[in-house]
């Protein structure tokens, strides 16, 4: 007896929207909104299913393993699926406000975004190591296309840089997959996990796959493409990349480590990743403090947050895993909110230079409140999702008697407080109101909504954490 095929629907709903949006170009924005809402509903369906029944497995094409490809939804996948879907709905709504209706940018943005979402959901649910490659390619190439919708030379050249890094990363990953298949003759993650043993082949595959995904995630110091891409892309694209789509490679890395490599190879490589992540946190936070432009600041903040998520590797354990998942979804909300706020500011005053934002908070109160609330989550202050996540990670670090990871997280939080306050300090200076500003309320409300979500995650962590725990490793 089969119920509603929620898993497949999360993949097919955005795809349907993308195809319809290409055929009926005039209605593309509305179709995108409908599609995003349907995907959110389907994602919720998956979450309910997983909450009730534990890990769900579906085959594609009714072929059993090892011949076919399987879809698999455990707690982590379901949680991330739902969170990304909710953020996706917000960003779709913001894009409807941001782009001129019927403009060329809108007609490219929505289909590309929906294709990216298709790839994203297929990636979150995939249980096959080569299928993950194809889904990664789909999300990456659509991301490049999305960055390039900016059209100006800065956007195009940063898109090109991103593409070249991504091509290198994909090839490294694919060679790793070739080694795995050559050694074990299967491509399914669960089957691989059962047969992989310690040895030079496994080390080789691990190194290749990890380096490949590190280029795309990105992991310090391979992050060179990211700041320019996030800063020069159109605002909805930056929100998408930093919040949602940009997390894919990290997710795949976690999946493969947990599913295939984690047990046989011990802790040393995980510690290396943790060290690089820590370096990323510290370096990116310091650089963020010195930024002149708001969008670049938020971009570097994203690198720092990603670095924090990488700390899950050395701290591997149930609590740290939950903390990492929570950081992923909180940052999705917070980063999107920050970028939307930055975008509103840029649209209103024509620039995003931090030193010239004096007094702006009085003219754009909601925008800066949204930025501040999102900043609370980025800093990891209570009550926010960021706080819950970092607290789980810090606690695990102390339980393992490795307090230095905790130190990195706390220093990172302090530095992010520094740069968030730097932005807010100038803006809240009293200044005479020179003229009223006409702008759309909608973008402020959307940013505020996302920031409040990030806070809400901190106020009600039980349900999401329980979901993440379904099928999580101990």
């Amino acid at each position: 007896m089969r119920g509603v095929p929620w898993l497949e629907l999360t993949i097919l709903a955005p795809l349907c929207g993308a195809l319809l949006g290409l055929v009926l170009q005039r209605a593309v924005a509305v179709l995108a909104l409908v599609s995003s809402l349907s995907t959110a509903v389907a994602s919720a369906g998956v979450a309910v299913l997983v909450a009730r029944h534990g890990t769900i497995r579906r085959s594609v094409g009714a072929w059993e393993l090892p011949l076919g490809i399987q879809l698999r939804a455990d707690g982590l996948a379901a949680l991330v699926l739902v969170a990304f879907a909710v953020v996706g709905v917000f960003i779709t709504a913001y894009a409807m406000v941001h782009f001129e209706p019927g403009s060329r940018a809108a007609r490219s943005f929505f289909p590309l975004w929906l294709f990216a979402w298709t790839g994203l959901d297929a990636l979150l649910l995939s249980s096959d190591v080569f299928n993950l490659y194809v889904t990664l390619e789909l999300t990456t190439l659509t991301s490049v296309g999305l960055v390039a919708t900016g059209g100006d030379p800065a956007a195009l050249s940063s898109a090109l840089r991103y593409l070249l890094f991504a091509m290198a990363g994909s090839l490294l990953y694919l060679l790793g997959v070739a080694l795995l298949y050559g050694a074990h003759g299967v491509l399914d993650l669960d089957l691989l996990g059962a047969v992989v043993t310690r040895g030079p082949v496994t080390w080789g595959a691990l190194a290749l796959i990890t380096c490949g995904l590190a280029l795309k995630a990105p992991l310090f110091p391979l992050h060179g493409w990211l700041p320019a891409a996030y800063a020069s892309a159109p605002v909805p694209v930056s929100a998408l990349l930093s919040g949602v789509v940009g997390k894919c490679s990290l997710y795949v890395l976690v999946r493969i480590w947990l599913g295939v490599f984690g047990v046989p190879l011990g802790r040393a490589p995980a510690v290396l990743i943790g060290v690089l992540g820590a370096a990323g946190v510290l370096w990116a936070s310091i650089v963020a403090c010195r930024q002149q432009r708001l969008k670049l600041l938020v971009a570097y903040s994203s690198i720092a947050q990603l670095g924090t998520i990488f700390l899950v590797f050395p701290l591997m354990g149930r609590a740290a895993f939950a903390g990492g998942a929570y950081l992923v979804i909180s940052h999705a909300c917070a980063a999107a909110a920050m970028f939307i706020a930055a975008g509103t500011i840029e649209q209103v005053v024509g620039h995003d230079e931090i030193d010239r934002l004096d007094g702006l908070a009085h003219r754009l109160p909601l925008t800066f409140v949204a930025f501040a609330l999102a900043g609370v989550s980025a800093m990891g202050m209570p009550p926010s999702g960021g706080f819950v996540a970092k607290w789980l990670l810090v606690r695990t670090a102390f339980e393992l008697h490795e307090w230095w990871w905790a130190a990195v997280i706390l220093i990172g939080g302090l530095l992010s407080a520094a740069y968030v306050f730097r932005v807010l300090r100038g803006a809240f200076v009293p200044a005479p109101i020179t003229e009223t500003i006409r702008r759309s309320r909608a973008s402020d409300l959307l940013a505020l909504g996302l920031a409040l979500l990030a806070l809400a995650l901190g106020l009600a962590p039980d349900l999401p954490l329980a979901l993440a725990a379904q099928g999580a490793p101990s």
Binding site: L141, L164, A168, A178
Partner: protein, 101 residues
């Protein structure tokens, strides 16, 4: 040495040559060529692995994987070249726009 191993080693060499050129050279077109060469290397490894049994039909799964890979590769290349052309076009129109790496 069985033939498949020679081809697999060749594929690994191609992969390394391509990757090093990708990192080393500054011109974008050369980087794109390097990525394609590297991809050919990975594909060669996969197809070589399919031919490990000396007799009988080869393993069709790596062949299918390579076919998928070739298509993905050409998509990425086409996207990269479109970006290059557009950047060059912009540079020709406006001398102040410098094409970056």
């Amino acid at each position: 040495m069985p033939p498949w191993l020679a081809y697999a080693a060749s594929g690994v060499s191609l992969f390394a040559v391509g990757m090093s050129a990708l990192v080393l050279h500054g011109e974008v077109m050369r980087k794109i060529l390097a990525a394609n060469v590297s991809a050919s290397g990975v594909f060669l490894v996969l197809v070589a692995l399919a031919r490990r049994a000396p007799k009988g039909p080869p393993d069709p799964v790596p062949h299918a994987l390579v076919l998928t890979g070739i298509v993905v590769s050409v998509s990425a290349t086409a996207l990269a070249l479109a970006l290059v052309r557009q950047l060059r076009h912009g540079a020709q129109l406006g001398p102040s726009d410098e094409r970056r790496r």
